[in-house]
Amino acid sequence: MSVVTGERIDLKDIQGNILRGYHAEVVRHIVVRVNDKGAAKQILADSVCGDTMNSPQITTGEQWDVDAKPTTFLNVGITAHGLRALGLSDSSVQSFPEEFLAGPAARATKLGDVDESAPVNWQDGFDRPDDVHLMWSIHAATIELLEATCRRLEAIWARSDAFVVTSRRDGAALAGDRVHFGYRDSISQPRFEYESNSQPAVVGRRDQQPVAPLGAVLLGYETTFPDVLWQMPRPRELGINGCFNAFRILEQDVDAFEAFLELVVSEHGGPNRPFLTEEYVAAKLMGRWRNGVPLALWPDSSDASAPTRPTFLRSNLEDDLNAFDYPDIDPEWDDYEGLHCPLGAHIRRANPRGAQIVQRSANYTRRIVRRGIPYGPPYDQKNKHDNHPRGLLGNFLCASLIAQFESIMYDWVNLGLQDPRITGTNDPILGANKLSASRFEIPLKGEDPIVLSGFPRFIRTVGSAYLFMPSITALRLLANV
């Protein structure tokens, strides 16, 4: 067991799914508008009263025993409009950070939510941000359990007319933790070490990145910028142990993505480049093979049992999937040129790890926790163009939306400011690409890079909200304002 950093936390006071993921099979996000302020506050009070007979309870971060994992999980996030609708005082609302108060629709250009992704085209009522007040998220082990919990919740709400439901959006995990593009997801998350009830705990895979401070995702702790403190909502108890969530519904155009992979192979492949397969191109765009194996360690094969860096300390495959960095003291493995993992690949852009970047102090300051579940039916290679919407229901969790989430989206994903060799290009998978301006380079050893261009945007934003995930203490406080 590694040495615990000594940060102390009361896990019972934070909402679940922040430090530790649920790995649930299904989810339903129910967006509501507050209809009756008093009734809504009563619902919040009941959801943290400790009596499950009265109401389903908010799931906390409390650790469960291996054989006693809950089968349903309930959480709630509140927008700035929601805080106002619940009756929080103006001075308290105004003490929240500016970007949270503005909401993602107002920050659309900064986030790359333009053209088809523009807020005016958002679905599920997210195009009317004033009406998005709370989002209840119910995770469950089975669809039956999900339905039962949701029925019970909505019946409780209906009794007091507390809320008007503006949308319900379901998601379901795909086999093998995959997303619709075929990649295995959620491998890289910040690793936290903390102490709760005198019990040390470690979450996250062993990797070569520094342990993330709790302040990467929670308010009231040392932040990702040592010695710099974020603005705290007032009163302080409202903020402490809270977390911000950039919730995004990201529609994925798998047809266009698969067609692009085929096109690249037909245009750039051939007998001289037998290695250039669709799987190779998919891996180069992501930085990982579709089965999750990182290019930084296995540049030539997705087979993780194949030999890799000789001095690499093998532990177990699951940890190995994240135990890499781009610089290396062994010149053979140092990847400054991006020969293994391209400089513009999604995972390298969104988290440069220890690589040389322009903003020298920023390498680990923008780390966020990603919790997501796909929606829509699995993509069937034999039944393409089925016109079913599919994508990801993504929760991007952090303590400062502007310093972490927005900075990744703006400076790194859509501007490529971190490395002069990719500045002016967008992330090939997540970026706001345009046919006329998209560009991605696959560096090759000893020959000119393969330059891909003319590809469209593969991921479109169809809804988003900035949510505050209050602590249990803060939920009680909100219920009594």
Binding site: K110, V114, D227, V228, L229, Y410, G424
Partner: protein
């Protein structure tokens, strides 16, 4: 007469200040101007001399810190009419620039801000958001590079502009760039001087 007219306009048509804008065109987000105008608490020769001596003691730290942000093309420190001005060109997001700046040279800036009238709470590391807001408020207002963006109605444009200038004496007009669209790091890489 002009003052009467302006206050009359203001009552009927309050000014709408342009906010920092972002663009999906990468070159619009590279080489952005910042003109930080900080009024000196004591603009007398003695007061200015004290401030200059403090800044002189922190020059190395300021330069090393700006170097570490990696996105500043240049930063000029100049006293103009009783104001300490920091005039710089930077790449990317304004708030990221100031946040990295705080992280890198917050302590040096704390020593300097003591000489500034109505400075934000110190140390700036403890109140980064407040400092970012303060810098934003003291940065010369960036007018749209196309002034017609202020109003679709050509008849209203002069009034809009007048009202903005009445509220904001310091404004940034357009910028000439000899090598537009190139970031600090791209320039340094091309010149082979490390990035």
């Amino acid at each position: 007469m002009a003052k009467v007219l302006i206050s009359y306009w203001k009552r009927h048509d309050p000014p709408v200040m342009p906010v920092r804008t972002f663009s999906m065109n990468p070159s619009d987000n590279i080489q952005v101007a910042m003109n930080l105008v900080m009024p000196l608490a004591d603009a007398s020769p003695v007061g200015r001399a004290l401030m200059i001596q403090t800044l002189a003691g922190a020059v190395e730290e300021v330069i090393a810190g700006l170097n570490n942000t990696g996105i500043v093309h240049f930063a000029r420190f100049t006293i103009i009419d009783g104001n300490l001005c920091m005039l710089s060109m930077y790449d990317g997001d304004f708030s990221n620039y100031i946040r990295d700046f705080i992280y890198n040279i917050g302590a040096a800036f704390d020593a300097l801000l003591v000489y500034i009238k109505d400075h934000p709470r110190l140390p700036v590391e403890d109140h980064p958001d407040e400092f970012i807001d303060w810098v934003n408020a003291h940065d010369a207002l960036q007018l749209p590079e196309r002034i017609t963006d202020l109003s679709d109605d050509p008849l209203k444009l002069p009034r809009r502009l007048t009202l903005i200038l009445d509220d904001c004496p310091n404004v940034q007009l357009f910028t000439y760039r000899a090598y537009p669209g190139f970031s600090v790091a791209q320039t340094r890489l091309a010149l082979n001087i490390g990035w």
